[in-house]
Symmetry: C2
Subunit: 266 residues, 2 copies
């Protein structure tokens, strides 16, 4: 069996390389559980392990980084990832305290950071929302069009504050609110809007930046977003998740679009 057939097999089995979200026994249980439910094969690297050149050298359809500190990915390894993205793989960064700038993410000024469709801050970009923050669709796009944003907008718990790079498509925003209670009723005052899901390209590959998290606590009510049967799943080596059906659909849409997985996997 030659190298190309080994790569081919690995590609078939594990088209996604998923980095971060602490560990499969922790926050990574969400995305890993969903990919398991969708029958999307993935290779996983926990947040405390440095990425060597081996795993990103295998041909992939999609690289997902979520709460994976930039210090865990040497510049030469980032270059290997980006070479695949230029050839057509997808690159998705999901928000969190160790994503974008965050508190220890520090992706600003890196090769990966420069390939994303958003400009990452040089300082702590974490916005924690103790009052409501609701998601708003800002443009039509296949990633979001099959979901009930108007009828049932979901809440989130926090996000990384970034700015959109020219030429990128902002498809979701987050609207924050200030709420008062005047002894009879709650009064909601809209405050700020920030980009929440931004899409772009890098060479032949698609890129996406999702500024909230897919795991608690920033995911907020989004993890339970749904009106139908709850989605239950469990990745190998992880714990059983139970999440909302709309949340699951949104995650699937983001993975499928960014990784162009639809024809291969779904």
């Amino acid at each position: 069996m030659g190298v190309s057939s080994i790569s081919d097999k690995l590609f078939q089995d594990k088209p996604v390389l998923y980095l971060g979200d602490t560990s499969l026994s922790g926050a990574a249980g969400y995305l890993a559980g969903l990919m398991t439910a969708f029958a999307i094969g993935f290779e996983y690297v926990p947040s405390d392990q440095t990425l060597s050149s081996e795993l990103p050298s295998v041909e992939r359809k999609l690289f997902v980084l979520s709460d994976y500190p930039s210090t865990r990915m040497p510049r030469a390894v980032q270059a290997i990832v980006l070479a695949q993205v230029k050839r057509g793989a997808g690159l998705l960064m999901i928000g969190g305290w160790e994503s974008f700038h965050g508190h220890g993410g520090d992706w600003d000024g890196t090769l990966i950071g420069d390939a994303l469709p958003v400009e990452i801050s040089g300082e702590d970009d974490r916005i924690n929302c103790d009052q409501p923050a609701l998601v708003l669709k800002s443009s039509d796009h296949e990633v979001v069009d099959d979901l009930p944003w108007n009828v049932r907008p979901p809440g989130i718990g926090g996000f990384n504050r970034v700015s959109v790079r020219p030429g990128s498509a902002t498809v979701l925003l987050v609207q924050t609110f200030q709420v008062f209670f005047d002894a009879k009723r709650f009064e909601f005052t809209p405050r700020d809007q920030h980009p929440l899901l931004v899409l772009g390209t890098h060479g032949n590959g698609r890129t996406a930046a999702f500024m909230t998290d897919l795991a608690p606590h920033w995911v907020g009510g989004l993890v339970d977003w749904g009106d139908g049967e709850r989605v239950k799943s469990q990745a190998k080596g992880s714990w059983e998740i139970e999440v909302g059906n709309h949340y699951a659909q949104l995650v699937l849409n983001m993975l499928a679009w960014t990784g162009q997985l639809s024809k291969v996997q779904l």
Copy 2:
């Protein structure tokens, strides 16, 4: 050194017995971190360990159960806990998927469940909020009076649905909302109110039921509730938390009132 002096020493060091929230490397990091910040000594038992009679036989000021399944506490051990509560210790149950009835909590029909100030459902009582749910003060009480409920009501992500037992004091409610987006603005419609913090007594002891969680994901925005310097802390054997100052104050108030800790510890 006689038995009484051993008990006395343990009481001095560890006035709180804290059960549940998975493990110190997981969700228990929040409450354990806060108790560490407040210099409240505690003994900890993870959710997957059965409680033997030894730890609750040591004299305590407060028992805290949070996502600790009733199957982990044999009836005879529950009786030991309640004997202490009758003599003056506090009993606090914090909500979650494995609290009250939940999904595997199953505290209805137990000795501990019967001693709480709320009636626990015989079926799944979990309410996951994908849209805003805000906390509302419903009566004046020292547990809640020093916090800005009207100026800055915090959100939560979910709660156990219980009913209040006659003679108990409901001091916090949760108000759920249905939200629409009409292409120009978000419209908030109030839906249901449910008890969120209920206080009572059991013999000479104080009891409290807090129906949301102190850890993600149900804690929601409450974990970040604050307007001042963030509270950072780390329990021994756990990870570093960073939370809102009002959240920390609320937790301290609940522990101090229920366990009558104020004169001893704070």
